[in-house]
């Protein structure tokens, strides 16, 4: 967990893939490939590049925040009701690559309250999620 997750919500998805990082990097950064698995958009692997991703359900506004070819890529991921950052990290492994996606962010109306409340939120929400699961 990075320091941001202390006062934001975050979602992490991780997979071991039987391919070298270079191949996965291409799928993450070439628009005609991005379109095939994520959404249609005009991504360019340049710091500060603004682009949008579109699908039938709507669009996402993005800006490249960090880029380290073959290793890491981070962009903002803003929709009508979500301000967040998506970070991809590629770790070479014996069998290929461990690919990690972490999205951290807020719904805009939640932001001031999270900011004021600091570290208690994620722990609290984890506890509440368990309570809700047990009740169902």
């Amino acid at each position: 967990m990075n320091s941001m997750s202390v006062d934001t919500l975050s979602v992490v998805v991780e997979r071991d893939l039987p391919y070298p990082p270079e191949k996965i990097w291409r799928a993450l950064t070439q628009p005609h490939l991005i379109e095939e698995w994520l959404m249609k958009g005009d991504f360019q692997p340049e710091m500060g590049h603004r682009f949008s991703l579109r699908a039938d359900w709507g669009s996402v506004n993005c800006e490249v925040r960090a880029i380290e070819p073959g290793k890491a890529l981070s962009y903002t991921w803003d929709t009508k009701d979500l301000r967040s950052i998506v970070t991809w990290t590629l770790f070479p492994s014996e069998t290929g690559t461990r690919l990690r996606m972490e999205q951290t962010g807020f719904k805009p109306e939640q932001q001031p309250y999270y900011r004021g409340a600091h570290a208690g939120w994620p722990k609290f929400l984890d506890a509440m999620e368990r309570v809700l699961r047990e009740r169902n």
Binding site: V11, Y19, L33, E36, Y113, F124, L125, M128
Partner: protein
């Protein structure tokens, strides 16, 4: 959920003492103000004030019983907060499946 009720919900939960009271009620079920006060490090009137805020946000309901009010948690409004991470996890899980499918097809 309406914007106003969402704001009440977040205001109510922005305070760590109120979160602790709410968490107690979720974990241990219905309790009186006296029982909640015994577990908090604040006075009974202060606990009562927090309960009013939680009640306005729809997170707590009370049941009068003689001289005592019994309070219990209503965690349902919290679902809207928890839901986005669940939604996004499902979204990315599906995208990862599509990505693996693409990687299989690349260079063939």
């Amino acid at each position: 959920m309406a914007r106003d009720s969402q704001t009440l919900l977040f205001k109510a939960l922005a305070d760590p003492t109120r979160r602790a009271i709410f968490e107690n009620l979720c974990r241990d079920g219905e309790q009186t103000v006296a029982a909640l006060t015994a577990r908090a490090r604040i006075s009974q009137p202060a606990v009562s004030k927090h309960l009013v805020v939680l009640k306005q946000a729809g997170l707590v309901k009370d049941r009068p019983d003689g001289r005592h009010n019994h309070y219990s948690a209503e965690p349902a409004p919290l679902k809207s907060i928890i839901d986005w991470s669940g939604e996004m996890t499902r979204f990315w899980d599906a995208r990862f499946v599509a990505l693996e499918d693409l990687l299989k097809r690349m260079d063939q």
